[in-house]
Amino acid sequence: MSKVVACYKWVADEADLRIDADLSVDFSRVKGKISDYDKNAIAEAVNIATAWGEKAVGLTFGTAKAKQSVKDALSRGLEEGYWINADEAADADGAAVAKALAAVIQRIDDVGLVVCAEGASDTFARQVPSRIGAVLDWPVVTSVMKIEIAGNGLMTVRRLDDCMQTVKVQLPAVIAVLPEINTPPIPGLKAVMAAAKKPVHEFKGGDLGINFTPKTKAVEFKGYVMARKNVIFKEGEAADKVRELAAALRKEGVL
């Protein structure tokens, strides 16, 4: 069998974003993280590679900040890390991201499968895996909640809005998995230590021959705030708090 590539994104943790009074978005206190559901994609890539007796490798496209992701990703069972370092990643759209990832997938020897997550925590655009498939002209299966090895292909179970589908796919292929597919293990100390010794391959965005200009023009980027009353009953006996809430709901006329 051949290698499995897990695509993961290093994203700003949305819990650290602040929305200012003028609705501008303050990124100054933001820490990065591996996009939540990409941990499931990494775990699934490792599972399949293990079943094949092959290697799972990680691939990410990001700015210089994404470097810190590689060790974290490698501690999750991947054997090698591929990192595309590009300033343009900061405002790349789905088209540019998919082309950059596909360009490196083509440079990795003997790839049989690319595993992505359903959607990234920052964009949640749910488009990159399908686009990678198109750029490579490989078959694509999205919304996958189960993967089984079936001869030299894969049998997958998809969850759609109205049905469950069992779908067979030939390799090489791109698969987007739902987070429900597995529970990613938390890396132990030994795995973290071992990660430091694994090979990391860096590519420069400029060397890939891709035009990174976004296909749309951003017109506005602003925070969303909800005006709510924020009346919170926290002190005193439970019975009193309940009485106050019940009275408020009655007054609001929503019962």
Partner: protein, 308 residues
């Protein structure tokens, strides 16, 4: 033919997008992959229905053929219903066309030769507006536009499918829960609930106030205590009830996105710092096992005169 090309496996969404196309003065061309859809949609106001015939049962596997068709016809926009099938078809077509794709638009308009699309980022914390120049793709959730009527001309054509993916089996998902988008009141349970049996505590409150039960993603997808159509959020249901009450829900942004249009939001959680309290109109900091039975009792008494 130039114009807006439309596809959805959900006929209601397809009809709504046709309504958008007609209202902005564009030709509307609906893509259908089976005769029944072409027939049912015959009076939905589309100018043309292209009935695409091929060998695969998977609509997504026609992505390359659809991309070629859009290019040949000089389409101005490919607007696809935001469902799992639609998202894949849309993104693969955009990939083959190497063009823009704006996913799950919260708003879409057309002025001065530009399409303007709005979408959320960071789980709903940020709204982004972008303009599309030249052929682009958007995916559109239900309920954004009003449908129109009018007869369509049906034109059949043969298309090639990607045969490397094949359908082996289909099992329908039987909807078990209520239609949350129509619910007047909702009681939502989160991972703060210890055991599946404790759903009864939430059901008792829901019954007392005439509410539907809903949940967070984890309750449905990790614990499987409630069906998937009952979870709320960016990847689940988006609701707009008069009253939403959460029990043991921390209130992460991805969940809150689904309840933003609620008239009144109430949160009950032990953690005073849980983000749900910033999103709530009213809240109680307390143990749901203590608070909910008392609240059920209090509200039962208040709503005796509630019309059935």
């Amino acid at each position: 033919m130039a114009g807006i090309y439309i596809y959805s496996d959900n006929n209601e969404i397809a009809a709504e997008i046709i309504g958008f196309a007609k209202r902005v003065g564009k030709e509307a061309v609906l893509l259908a992959f089976d005769e029944k859809t072409a027939e049912v949609m015959g009076n939905s106001g589309a100018d043309k229905i292209y009935l695409l015939n091929g060998e695969s049962e998977l609509v997504e596997s026609y992505a390359k053929a659809v991309a070629e068709l859009l290019q040949k016809e000089e389409a101005e926009l490919f607007a696809v219903g935001s469902t799992a099938r639609g998202r894949e078809l849309a993104a693969r077509a955009a990939g083959y066309l190497d063009c823009a794709l704006v996913s799950d638009v919260s708003a879409l308009s057309y002025a001065d030769g530009w399409f303007l699309a709005e979408r959320m980022m960071y789980g709903g914390l940020v709204q982004q507006r972008e303009s599309l120049d030249g052929l682009g793709v958007v995916t559109v959730p239900g309920g954004k536009f009003d449908p129109v009527t009018g007869n369509a001309e049906v034109i059949s054509m043969a298309v090639q499918a990607d045969r490397r993916v094949s359908l082996v089996e289909t099992a329908p998902i039987v909807r078990q829960g209520a239609d949350l988008s129509q619910a007047d009141k909702v009681v939502c349970v989160g991972m703060g609930l210890d055991k599946e049996e404790d759903l009864e505590t939430a059901r008792a409150l829901a019954e007392a106030i005439g509410a539907e039960i809903a949940c967070t993603r984890g309750i449905a997808e990790e614990r499987h205590w409630l069906p998937a159509e009952l979870y709320i959020g960016i990847s689940g249901a988006v609701i707009k009830p008069k009253l939403y009450v959460s029990l043991g829900v921390s209130g992460q942004i991805q969940h809150i996105f689904g309840i933003r249009d609620s008239q009144l939001i109430v949160g009950i959680d032990t953690n005073e710092r849980a983000p749900i309290f910033k999103a709530a109109d009213y809240g109680i900091v307390g143990d749901l096992y203590e608070i909910v039975p008392l609240l059920t009792d209090a509200l039962k008494k208040q709503t005796i005169d509630r019309p059935e």
